[in-house]
């Protein structure tokens, strides 16, 4: 792992990046949590953003419907009941866009950000799949859970068996980090 890549070391770093955005937007911060507490239950709403460049690095954000609406409500200063699914989807996409910029800089990718788009576990599975367990789980004080993955196509790099995704097509750029006690 290169020095630049090692700057994104896992849950703590991602929590800090996400919190720097959400603190400004709605006063919310996130901490790493135990990923095994959510599993696939958090994959109802998934957004994928390619970070551009030859390495084909992408960042993936997942949350559930309640979490997306809670987050959007906090950002807009509105009651969660008034948040439409379109508003919640847009808020999640924009959060990912802002976090992606920081990740791209940390990885020194030197390419323009791509556009966020919705995806599903089924679509990702068709492309070789990601290891669910390789994503970090971030939990806010407002009980919003987010799951984040950063990966690149294995064809662009030498896969590391301990972090390769299911099927070995994707290579996670995150270390397996458990929450610090």
């Amino acid at each position: 792992m290169s020095r630049a890549m090692s700057r994104v070391t896992g849950a703590e770093d991602l929590a800090s990046m996400v919190s720097s955005v959400t603190r400004t937007m709605c006063g919310t911060t996130f901490e790493p949590a135990d990923p095994s507490t959510r599993g696939e239950s958090l994959c109802g709403q998934m957004v994928l953003l390619p970070l551009g460049g030859v390495r084909q690095v992408s960042i993936l954000l997942a949350c559930d419907v309640t979490g997306g609406r809670t987050l959007a409500a906090a950002m807009f200063g509105m009651p969660p009941g008034e948040i439409t699914q379109d508003l919640a989807d847009d808020a999640v996409r924009e959060l990912l866009n802002m976090v992606a910029g920081q990740v791209s800089r940390a990885l020194s990718l030197d390419s323009a950000l791509g556009l966020p788009r919705a995806t599903t576990l089924a679509e990702l599975a068709q492309q070789g799949g990601i290891g669910i367990e390789e994503g970090v789980l971030l939990r806010s004080t407002g009980n919003v859970d987010l799951r984040l993955w950063i990966f690149e196509r294995a064809s662009q790099a030498t896969p590391e068996p301990e972090v390769a995704g299911k099927g070995g097509v994707f290579r996670s750029l995150l270390r397996a980090v458990m929450p610090r006690s």
């Binding site: 955005v21 400004t24 937007m25 959007a72 950002m75 807009f76 508003l87 847009d90 808020a91 996409r93 924009e94 959060l95 866009n97 802002m98 976090v99 992606a100 910029g101 920081q102 791209s104 800089r105 990718l109 030197d110 390419s111 323009a112 950000l113 791509g114 556009l115």
Partner: protein, 120 residues
């Protein structure tokens, strides 16, 4: 002063409006894409533009290029973007943007930049 916010994200547009100082809130126009933003600019009457970089169909760099140096000499454009790599502000400014603000833009950041470019 008539302010135009060009961003495909309604979240970003809403949040930027919240960050604007009171004197700028009276007349804010929103465009949910680059082409619509250019149309509104073409109609005239815009005094200040906030512009996102990453948008579908046409990005913020292309908007700056389309506006061109003559228009940008009289229309201050502030780029507001999540793309925080070093070349993004440099490229935007080379194309005529007056300033670059990293998303999410806080009230304080917006006010500082507006003062720096002399519109507040």
């Amino acid at each position: 002063m008539r302010v135009l916010i060009v961003d495909d994200s309604s979240t970003a547009r809403r949040f930027l409006k919240k960050a604007l100082p009171a004197p700028f809130l009276a007349d804010v126009v929103e465009a949910d894409g680059a082409r619509r933003g250019l149309e509104i600019c073409g109609e005239g009457g815009i005094d200040l533009m906030f512009l996102d970089l990453t948008m579908p169909e046409m990005d913020g760099y292309e908007v700056l290029a389309a506006l061109g140096g003559v228009r940008l000499a009289t229309l201050p454009v502030i780029v507001v973007s999540g793309d925080v790599q070093t070349q993004a502000p440099e490229k935007a400014k080379a194309l005529g943007a007056r300033a670059f603000i990293k998303k999410p833009a806080s009230k304080e950041q917006v006010e500082v930049v507006l003062r720096e470019i002399g519109v507040l």
